[in-house]
């Protein structure tokens, strides 16, 4: 499943082939034919932002994520003031050696704080987020329980814009 740097990797086909070769039935990927839409009603300089990673990233003071997790709906709130060196990554699904060195290449908390300090964005919410780690097969639980619960937490923090960074 290699790819030239100018050609996007075809994850869907590659994973189907990989797991098919192990005798697994074809995975039923989520295919949405439309998307919800909430307009951004104020300029970026007045927006409150936060960020979500699904890359198995946790504070060192918290338990590590299970790198082989299945259906793990854990969601950690990460205090805004957390340092870039305060994190650990446990996820067998992707190569995180670069992010181990500098969390900002996958979860750019320092860059967001710099944009806030420069006034390019209005403010950052008091909490960043990490969870919904890969390989969640019970998707209906995300749609009916854990996703809506997360949305409520974002509302509590007055978030206008969420940057979601899947991995």
């Amino acid at each position: 499943m290699s790819a030239h740097a100018t050609e996007p990797i075809r994850y869907v086909d590659g994973l189907a082939k990989h797991y098919g070769s192990m005798g697994h039935p074809p995975y039923q990927w989520t295919i949405n034919h439309d998307a919800p839409w909430t307009p951004l009603t104020r300029p970026l300089k007045k927006c409150r932002l936060t960020m979500l990673t699904s890359g198995g990233i946790s504070l060192c003071s918290m338990p590590a994520f299970d790198p082989m997790a299945r259906n793990d709906h854990r969601l950690d709130a990460i205090p805004l003031a957390s340092g870039a060196g305060d994190f650990q990554i446990h996820d067998s699904y992707y190569d995180h050696r670069d992010a181990d060195q500098d969390i900002n290449c996958q979860f750019p908390i320092d860059r967001l704080r710099e944009l806030e300090a420069a006034g390019e964005i209005g403010s950052l919410a008091p909490r960043f987020w990490s969870g919904f780690m890969g390989r969640i097969y019970n998707r209906s639980k995300v749609l009916t329980e854990t996703g809506p619960a997360f949305a409520e937490e974002l509302k509590k923090d007055g978030v206008d814009l969420l940057i979601a960074v899947p991995a």
Partner: protein, 78 residues
């Protein structure tokens, strides 16, 4: 707003607004300690959030990873 390194996956899921960057999974914002690149990707994500007018927008960033890369499913990276 979604920043994706998996274009085919994102096309299928159709988040409200997405930016695709053809970087390895795990390097969505670029290389470690490359502050300029990380900031450039982040600003592109924010620009997409501001300019998108249609649900399901997917913007391709004109950035290239400097080396060939691959994704090897099943290869353990604990």
């Amino acid at each position: 707003m979604c920043l994706s390194t998996g274009r085919d996956l994102t096309e299928q899921v159709r988040p409200p607004r997405s930016v695709f960057v053809n970087f390895p999974m795990g390097n969505a914002f670029g290389a470690p300690f490359d502050i300029d690149m990380q900031m450039a990707v982040l600003r592109a994500v924010l620009a997409c959030a501001v300019t998108s007018r249609v649900a399901g927008t997917l913007v391709d960033l004109p950035l290239a990873w400097p080396r060939l890369f691959a994704f090897e499913p099943g290869k353990s990276r604990m």
